[in-house]
């Protein structure tokens, strides 16, 4: 028989130097913070039990996140605000939890629900005058080809892929900040740093690749015309 579980969806931010820790490291940071806070997680059954904690699409190394999603199965019920406070007291600077809502039985995971992401990309200020033209040139591209290493039957192989269809919209929200809406789901996921590499190449400045600061604002689910954040899919409580 399964133990009673209390499922929670939590938003958190990952900023500052913590953008340099990997997704696996992040998992351990949360696990230990919960252990210190006395928050007991439900463990999976089976040969190698692990705590029931899941995340939405991982952030690339170096990318910050304003609203990232984590879902927990707790062994005991917690008041949502108390849970947030207890966790925040244990998190290192750069990580903070913001909101917590209950997940009714049968709710799909954030990982399965997310379809889109919004990113803010801050560009070096000194080229501000050129950005409108560079963006125009980039948007004119018929294809945005990136190369990546992918696994085929266990072997790693260099593949080229057109990511243009994954870009929903890309515009300048101020002189040197881009706002990107793109596909971010279980099946397809755009990595903005890869897109930016092509952006800089198209602008004739490949050396600027990596100079941008990328921040994921939130994750969304498209429902008809509406774009709802993953948290909005749950009732407030």
């Amino acid at each position: 028989m399964n133990p009673i579980r209390y499922q929670k969806r939590i938003t958190f931010s990952k900023e500052g130097r913590l953008r340099f820790i990997s997704h696996l490291d992040l998992l351990r940071v949360f696990q230990r913070a919960m252990s210190r806070a006395g928050i007991e997680l439900v463990f999976s059954q089976g040969f190698n039990p692990h705590p029931q904690m899941s995340f939405a699409q991982p952030l690339s190394l170096g990318v910050t996140g304003k609203k990232e999603y984590m879902e927990l199965q707790l062994a005991a019920d917690w008041n949502n605000q108390e849970l947030l406070d207890a966790l925040n007291a244990q998190l290192p600077p750069g990580l903070q939890v913001w909101e917590c809502r209950n997940m009714p039985e049968g709710t799909k995971s954030a990982m399965a629900l997310a379809t889109h992401a919004q990113y803010q990309i801050t560009l070096p200020a000194e080229y501000a005058q050129q950005y409108p033209a560079w963006l125009e040139a980039f948007l004119q591209l018929k294809e945005v080809n990136i190369t990546k290493l992918a696994k085929f039957h266990g072997r790693k192989k260099q593949v080229t892929m057109d990511i243009k269809p994954l870009i929903q919209s890309l515009e300048l929200s101020d002189e040197h900040t881009l706002t990107l809406w793109c596909i971010c789901s279980n099946e397809q996921n755009l990595k903005p740093d890869r897109m930016m590499k092509v952006f800089w190449e198209t602008a004739g400045h490949p050396e600027l690749a990596g100079q941008e600061a990328i921040c994921r604002i939130d994750l969304y689910r498209q429902e008809g015309e509406a774009m709802l954040t993953i948290m909005q899919l749950l009732a407030e409580n």
């Binding site: 130097r17 490291d25 252990s35 190394l61 170096g62 244990q90 290192p92």
Partner: protein, 627 residues
Amino acid sequence: MKRVSVPDQVLLQVEKPARYIGGEVNSIRKDPENIPVRIAFCFPDVYEVGMSHLGTQLLYGDFNRNDNVYCERVFAPWPDMEAKMRELNIPLYTLETFTPVKDMDFLAFTLQYEMSFTNILNVLDLAGIPLYAADRTDEDPIVIAGGPTASNPEVLAPFIDFFYMGEGEVSYKEIFDRYEAHKASGGHRRDFLSKILDLGPIYVPAFYDVEYNDEPAAGAKYTPSIRSITPNRPDAPAKIRKDIVANLDESYYPTKLIVPYLQSVHDRAVMEIFRGCVHGCRFCQAGQVYKPVRFRSKEKVLALCDEIMKNTGYDEISFTSLSTDDYPWLEELMTEFHEKFPHVAISLPSLRVDAFSLGLMEKLAEGKKSGLTFAAEAGTQRLRDVINKGLTEEEILGGCQLAFTGGWDKVKLYFMLGLPTETEEDIDGIAKFGYKILDTWNNIPKEQRSRDVQITVSTSFFVPKAFSAFQWAPQSTAQDYLDKQQFLNGRIRNRKIRYNCHDSFLSTLEGLLARGDRRTSKLIYLAWQKGCRFDSWSDHFNEQAWKEAIEESGLELDYYNHRERPADEIFPWDMIDYGVSKQWLRREYEKALQGISTPNCQEHCSGCGMMKFTDCGLCFSERRGEE
């Protein structure tokens, strides 16, 4: 205050950038502005290795208990980061405040193994500190070294301002207080060294002269041995006494262990249950330099564990010591800990295998049966008597029998090749040992044993170390090592027995650095110049560069490694007093050659000298008990 800025792009281009960012849970934040004594503590290897070292965490916490001190951490940057730092002129910085290491008052290295020596030079260089102590000015930090490998300080002597012998909990506070006063009274940094000589454990290499004999030593072509090591000023003591923590229950223990973001090599909480070792394995340096045996009480251990688990959130803890079996309250400790923290796994390094420990391991591993490890060290009982390893074949086979019927299916055996008096029979004994374990498994009825078995025989090469009973012993040549390895490899012919072995040249080098003297220091410098670093990492070890460096240094392997040192030879480390007398070690060496074993200190005191040296620890309390 200067702060080193590390561009994001650099961090994004290197492997595991979390090595270079600091800010971990339980790392210590202080406002450095008004702190008079600033220390950079360096474990000279990569972050994940250094962060697994208890001593680093212990001294870091201990130093930072003092309000006048801020101790920060620094590690050896991995070669990809080093390249970036050199390219962009980023000086080596501390992880806590990103302060240039050069701006610190002290840079303290912990020496845990010889193959980290080139990293020390590289750390100094990346910090912009002159490598040679003689070239440093008041603008440079005072460079300290300590730890077990400092027991022979001489190979690093020209690079280090002072060595601290023994356990750092004892005198560092006094050193830092004196430094603060010295600084406040306008004293120069370089003049400070003479102000701490009376403390006892301080060795300032510059205050000692080494003279050599006129003739080459017997067994060497051209290298003379040491004639004398003498202080060149009246306030430098002729003997440097190691410091010892008298009572572990009353001494500091770090309960706010820093929890790294990266998975460190030992990714778990660590609890030291006792210090020292009752066994007198004759090849072992740690067993001698950590004497006497001092236990931490079970009550204290449990109280500390409570805090550690609360402060770290780890799901695993390791109870460490040099030989966990000898902890008198092990069973109660484990049981009580398990009751308190049912979800925390316990790992016990170097545990004897018997019915009790197996039952315990099974319970703690919650079904996961990892491999069993036995350090048999030698293939025959004769040779085990020579090295005084009190573990018999029957004990190991009995342990395996229990383990196999309990469902374990992996056994790992560690041996050394090249031990004194070793013959072909002893090497053959290693192979036979493997086969006997296989027989043990074969003889258990199928339904009672694991389905398959994997026996791993692993050999390393014996390297004589300072302060071990074998400090006089000749070390095999690299060719000898290879021959022995091949011989053994030829004897193991079964797919259920796997054979692993160490690199022979690395062992030769380790031997050279372990028993070298001041003349050896230039080899480290030459190797570093040729780009050697991270020598304990096989993918970074540059054999060719080291061979060239040996050639250029003119160091004679026959002198340092291959000859048996005469009984009356003055060793480079003779001015260091670890409490264990040279006469006793010599007696042990001679008994070894005759194959006579010595009972462990718990059974019978063999008079190593420790009882006279100190008034604490196991042997002292035993003696009091008899009186």
